[in-house]
């Protein structure tokens, strides 16, 4: 039941903010649409309903969002800006192990890696990501993980695993 409520709520919020109005007509159609869409899609979107009952996961996600968008992104951008001017690059593809189990955690790690400039996930196989990296400081998977995705993974495991 919880999954239908949560998915419906997301649809409701997106619908109302996109329509940009809180008139009775918008709210009435939003209720119908969120009911229909969550009935159709919730079973594909939510695998483990119990995790939705743990609100601290959401708090960690919000904290991570702000930390990622400000500090982590800023550092990564500054690094790439510096490398653009100095052309001090050593590009290559490294193998990075992932321990997170759930697909949402993995997607968050992948998105975080790709969205920071300088690193792009190009493939995923078994328990490894293949990351195209602007400056390969070490080809060793564990060393590379420390430099690329360890922080992301710690957060992702707390939020989704």
């Amino acid at each position: 039941m919880m999954k239908y409520i949560v998915v419906g709520l997301i649809v409701f919020i997106v619908y109302v903010s996109f329509a940009g109005s809180t008139s009775p007509y918008t709210l009435a159609t939003a209720t119908i649409i969120s009911g229909v869409l969550s009935a159709l899609t919730a079973k594909y979107l939510v695998v483990d309903e119990r995790k939705l009952m743990e609100p601290w996961r959401l708090l960690v996600l919000i904290y991570y969002f702000f930390k990622y968008m400000t500090i982590i992104e800023f550092k990564a951008h500054m690094d790439v800006v510096k490398r653009t001017f100095t052309m001090d690059i050593k590009p290559g593809i490294v193998k990075v192990p992932v321990n997170a189990k759930s697909r949402y955690a993995r997607s968050l790690i992948m998105g975080s890696i790709t969205n920071t400039p300088g690193t792009v996930v190009v493939d995923e196989k078994d328990d490894y990501f293949y990351v195209n990296w602007i400056y390969v400081s070490s080809p060793d998977p564990l060393e590379a993980k420390k430099a690329i995705s360890e922080e992301f993974e710690n957060f992702a495991v707390k939020i989704f695993d």
């Binding site: 649809v11 996109f18 649409i33 969120s34 869409l37 001017f85 993995r106 992948m110 493939d123």
Partner: protein
């Protein structure tokens, strides 16, 4: 290194100067007065069609008959397109792998967001810019990212078949035609709006037939484009091998 920086700064300055000069010299003056026809629509749309959105009112009311024939033309085009693909869904069932688990996860979320926004476009089409065709196309975008990511075979297994999609499209178009024809029963012209359909239901503004047209048009467009996308994802070998029906 220093030459690189100088070139970058020069380029940046040149772009800034160019865009400022272009804005000042080419400044397209906004007309201070509306032309007669535009004035007519601005002043009368809300009274004659019960819709504040003049574009939708023109498309489905003032020139409603034209739009309905246009929809029919698109319907025939899609039927023609589908008829050109000689295939059975067995060929599609072989394609089941799709992209990585990560792409699938993100696509699920994105598709849900696209669907929510598409619904907002459709259901506010008679109140703000939007409507049946843009909303239906947005749904089609969602299905066009779902099909390659999850592979057509997986969707067919889940019960999404092109036969069903074409059936939805046919039903939506029939409903659209009925909305246009119903006023004739009461002796009014075809595609009559305000003299036959109510402007609001339970106090909610629906602008008469405009919201109905938008709803059915969006269903027709979404299912039609999804069916085409499904057919386009047939692997090439299926065509060559002649394994089609």
């Amino acid at each position: 290194m220093s030459r690189r920086i100088i070139i970058l700064i020069l380029l940046f300055t040149a772009t800034l100067i160019a865009s400022f000069t272009a804005t000042i010299i080419l400044n397209p003056a906004t007309p201070s007065e509306l032309k007669g026809l535009a004035k007519y629509y601005v002043l009368n749309t809300i009274n004659e069609t019960a819709s504040p959105e003049a574009v939708t009112a023109i498309v489905w009311d003032y020139r409603g008959l034209d739009t309905i024939y246009e929809t029919l033309v698109l319907y025939l085009a899609i039927v023609g397109g589908l008829a050109m693909f000689k295939m059975s869904e067995e060929a599609l069932l072989k394609t089941r792998i799709g992209l990585t688990l990560l792409s699938k996860t993100s696509t699920k979320i994105v598709a849900l967001l696209i669907a929510s926004i598409a619904a907002a476009i459709v259901f506010h089409g008679h109140l703000s810019p939007g409507g049946g065709f843009p909303g239906g196309s947005a749904v089609a975008v969602a299905s066009m990212i779902i099909i390659p990511v999850f592979a057509a075979g997986t969707l067919i297994e889940k019960g999404v078949s092109s036969t069903k999609l074409v059936a939805i499209r046919g039903a939506a178009l029939t409903a659209l035609g009925l909305v246009a024809l119903l006023p004739v029963v009461k002796g009014l012209e075809i595609v009559t709006n305000q003299r036959f359909y109510p402007a609001s239901i339970l106090g909610l503004p629906i602008s008469g037939s405009l919201s109905l047209y938008n709803l059915f048009e969006s269903l027709a467009v979404a299912s039609g484009f999804t069916a085409i996308a499904l057919y386009l994802s047939i692997p090439e070998e299926a065509h060559k091998g002649g394994s089609g029906a």
